[in-house]
Symmetry: C2
Subunit: 207 residues, 2 copies
DNA sequence: TACCCTTTGTTAAATTATTAACAATTTTCT
DNA sequence: AGAAAATTGTTAATAATTTAACAAAGGGTA
């Protein structure tokens, strides 16, 4: 299989989540237009994405829900799963942990870090919190490959550097401050304010 | 001015934030490559975005920081500002409120809603929480145009419907469940799990 | 002055992403 | 059997986005 576009990867993740819900309801097959409806996109796009991963449905029944779930899993997940750490146990950090607890996934948050002594050595929704200075050690011992940054913006560069030095492979930065990482590390950044300002712009102009 | 691309709007919001920091440091002028460095993009893209909004820098000094901030404000903000409500006072909802409190911006979170009686009538970081049943009334009285959904996924469709019926203009949905809105309403959705799974994929394939 | 360096503004090209179009296939109905 | 309807898979077309290329301008310097 050749390159899968970034956007396709994102949609596959979302298809899988929708499919898992369908599977739980006992639905065995699904049509492209049904998936499309759930995700507010076009059926063509769904078929195209599915084509790109080399799966084939049947003409009258559509796609086999479980097969598609499994195939997307083969593409996105690693067999053993990946371990995740969260840095910064504020409201956002706790939200992430809670968010994850329900889901069954190949990604597990296995450690948290914070600089506040009141938080270290405590567990948050089952995830133990360590002091930031222990980051290098824990990340290596626990084989953690992804770090989520949910600290205040000012601390982001320093935390990023620590994560990079600890041998992390991917980073999700939720602070509004863009951070720099070596090109071997995959970086994703999301900024809530930007999302809101974008909505504001379109509300304003569409009015 | 003609259509500004979505991506340009997102970047303008980010440029402005970077520029505000520069201005606070007393920097009066900035080059496209400096902005680009901060945002990890190319200088050409910065110049192109700035061209699209009709601003012009000077050849030897670059762009005037304050002028650019003001112009981006003219584009993104409304003069009087927009009011925002947050629905669901869990960790994520509180994170959003805290996030906003520091920033000076034309968007203000003026109300929160929750179904938990222990939370209603309380204030969270200065934002008063009402019962969900009061949504229609409060949104009209407070002239709220944007709603942020931070409830558990299962409740998302019902909350969305209430927001729509209350006359909201834009929605930011943080639940993993895609919601349906009439086309007159601007909808933005963000799903943390998708972001993480995307990172996982690239960590896996880039290894 | 004449040349070099830097930076903007902008057009053109390339790339990426989405949408349209449609042949092929299977089922259902008459 | 033959026609009609629905759906997939795929190629072609379109649209959106990014990147490249480069002329023009200004300032420094020998």
């Amino acid at each position: 299989m050749k390159h899968l576009p970034h956007k396709t990867i994102e949609r596959l993740s979302q298809y899988r989540r929708a499919l898992l819900i369908c599977a739980a309801k006992g639905k065995a097959h699904i049509f492209s237009h049904e998936i499309a409806k759930i995700q507010h996109i076009t059926p063509v796009q769904v078929r195209r994405d599915i084509m790109l991963i080399g799966y084939t449905g049947t003409l009258r029944k559509g796609y086999n829900v479980q097969e598609l779930i499994d195939l997307i899993g083969d593409i996105i997940d690693t067999k053993e799963g990946l371990n995740v750490a969260i840095v910064g146990i504020g409201n956002l950090g706790r939200a992430m942990i809670n968010y994850f607890n329900g889901k069954r996934t190949k990604l597990s948050i296995v450690a948290a870090f914070d600089s506040n002594p009141d938080k270290v050595e405590r567990a948050f929704s089952g995830v133990k919190c360590y002091h930031i200075d222990q980051m290098g050690e824990i990340i290596k011992n626990e084989n953690i490959s992804i770090g989520i940054i949910t600290v205040p913006a000012g601390a982001a560069p320093e935390i990023t550097e620590k994560l990079v030095n600890s041998g992390i492979k991917g980073i999700l930065n939720f602070t509004p401050k863009p951070v720099n990482v070596p090109s071997r590390i995959y970086l994703e950044e999301y900024d809530m304010i930007t999302s809101l300002e974008k909505i504001a712009f379109f509300v304003k102009t569409h009015a």
